[in-house]
Amino acid sequence: MLIEKFNPLEDEMIQVLNEEGDIIRPEWMPEISDEEVLSLFRTMQKTRAIDSIALSLQRQGRMLTYAASLGQEAAQVGSGYALKKTDWAVPAFRELGMWLTKGWSVDKILQYWYGNEWGSHTGEDLRLLPISVPISSQFQHAVGIGMSIRLKGENDVVMAYTGDGGTSQGDFHEAMNFAGVYRTPNVFVIQNNQYAISVPVVIQTASKNLAMKALAYGMPGILVDGNDLFAVLAVSQQAVAYARETGPVLIEAYTYRMGAHTTSDDPTKYRTDDEVDPWKEKDPLLRVEKYLIKKNLLKQEEIEAMKEALEEEVMEAYRSIEHSSDTEIEEIFSYHYEKMTPQLQDQLDEYRNYLKGAASDGK
């Protein structure tokens, strides 16, 4: 098994699909039908469509802070696709591609970024936790779910995400350590996109790579080309299988954040085009596109049509939430406890009374 044989100290990186769209390690190619490849490609395109619509809405003032996934689609879609519906996914905040494979709906996703808590009501049957903003804190929840799975004799796997920056947090360490001790069915995915806002990964850690951090917890760690859909999928499938049977695994998906950290960020302050440009050739979508075209599974025009259709679909989803996104006053109060405390009830009443008075004052 790749997972067990791989030695992260050697700093090599698993690759299957090269930049020309050729399969260079067929023995590692995941077993996947052409329809599945097409569907994954579509999901990656959808990720990109959401990013582009959200960014343009943001510029128009119709969307708030937004964190794009541009460049990281393979890492997200490839890993997320390795999960069953009954497996859990525990995101950080930049896993759009994974959210789509897991079934979080586009309107909910946009509602989240548009600043409404209902966006995090991901849906009754979705084993997907909401976005977690405090970096790496969600790893602890993932491990707790893993512990409960072992305890209940369930057969599910929990895949948790963090960034390269996230590896510096105490919670990253504590969670990985717990997972090692209790041999929980966890897959930990680090999307190493080289930056934590403006801070490059060389200031984040002196570790040779991030995958090898697994050794400190007695678990396998594997480094994969995060811009290679097939490699990510292959490694993730094996990791998920390993987690289900044996214990936790760490995956480092080596990738690059092509855009700004969020819409509040201006990356030209801390990095040059010279650094960014070479990564354009490593575009994870381009590779799959080349593969599909070479295999005659898709034509260039079809791709353009797909993009357009997806953008329209996303705009549709946005329109469905744009005007319904203001929070009802009562909702601010009513979800803190099963039943509102008398304090909350008082405060709600007082505020409503004030509003009534203000309204009748004509203010």
Binding site: P130, H141, G144, I149, D171, E174, H336, Y337, P342
Partner: protein, 324 residues
């Protein structure tokens, strides 16, 4: 059937009852499994319920609380122990940023039936960080409940209520009086309502509100005052606070003293006084007063006798308030 047990035994019994009744209850923390807890609050649980349901963890409070959040998300009812309240701080991010917020964040989709137990308070001649009473910090956090019992009976009933509560409860145990006295307590499971104070003694002249390990000290203080009729309230839940019971009492007495062990400034006493002002201002005949720990770190043992208000000081303060 009743048994005569002390507070720490009441904790143990509550856990045992609930683990027997509800297979989703699990208990864990540092030294909680094999050893049965440094205070023996979880003794026997691993023997009875196995290593899966009562177990030791690595030394990491954030992971203890954080993993409990995950457990609760997947349908368990974790009851985790923080060995001393002074060691809860590494877990504050998990408590404040997640435990308290999950229900609201997800608009009710996910809620967290979990309990964080921690022995709190000073006066046990301990090393630094073993004497904290920082309930006010957690009471300020929306989405948390903070409970502090003062008797074996209340401990058991409130802890079981906390375990059955669908939301996170911080359950602070008055370790100074863990073994101070015994009480007849039903052997079976029962609950007491979280959010309800208890009037320990009715009176007309002065209201004294207190909680936890200060309760017996206040009772002692009060029992030495013949000339006054004193109402003593055991708050039992710090948040959400039972304002009604306090207000009703102050409307009767016109005078209130809050006694707590925590540092004075920005402590829970301030909130009680603010509430009394808001709800019973016209009844006040004297300024609401506080008798509390100093605004200092809890002193090491050779100075600790000065910190916790003694029954004599409480008595003195009650008289000062009554004479106002």
């Amino acid at each position: 059937m009743a048994n005569k047990i002390n507070i720490v035994q009441a904790v143990q019994q509550a856990l045992q009852n609930e683990m027997a009744l509800d297979p989703t209850v699990v208990v864990y923390g540092e030294d909680v499994g094999v050893e049965g807890g440094v205070f023996r609050a979880t003794v026997g649980l691993q023997q009875e319920f196995g290593k899966e349901r009562a177990f030791d963890t690595p030394l990491a409070e954030s992971a203890i609380v954080g993993s409990a959040i995950g457990m609760a998300i997947n349908g368990m009812k974790p009851v985790v122990e923080i060995q001393f309240m002074g060691f809860i701080y590494p877990a504050v991010n998990q408590i404040v940023s997640h435990a308290a917020r999950y229900r609201n964040r997800t608009r009710g989709l996910r809620h967290l039936p979990m309990v964080i137990r921690a022995p709190y308070g000073g006066g046990i001649r301990a090393l630094e960080h073993h004497s904290e009473s920082t309930e006010a910090l957690f009471a300020h956090i929306p989405g948390l409940k903070v409970v502090i019992p003062s008797t074996p009976y209340d401990t058991k009933g409130l802890l079981i209520a906390a375990i059955r509560d669908p939301d996170p409860v911080l359950f602070l145990e008055p370790k100074r009086i863990y073994r101070a006295f015994r009480q007849d307590v039903p052997e079976e499971a029962y609950t007491l309502p979280i959010g309800k104070a208890k009037v320990l003694q009715e009176g007309d002249d002065v209201t004294v509100v207190t909680w936890g390990a200060m309760v017996p000290d206040v009772q002692k203080a009060v029992s030495g005052i013949e000339e006054l009729s004193i109402e003593v309230i055991d708050l039992r839940t710090i948040s959400p606070m039972d304002r009604e019971t306090i207000i009703e009492s102050v409307e009767k007495t016109g005078r209130i003293l809050v006694v707590h062990e925590a540092a004075k400034s920005f402590g829970a006493g301030a909130e009680i006084i603010a509430v009394v002002n808001e709800k019973a201002f016209l009844s006040l005949e004297a300024p609401p007063m506080r008798l509390t720990g100093f605004d200092t770190t809890f002193p090491l043992p050779r100075g600790e006798e000065h910190y916790i208000p003694s029954p004599e000081r409480i008595r003195h303060k009650i008289r000062e308030l009554a004479a106002y």
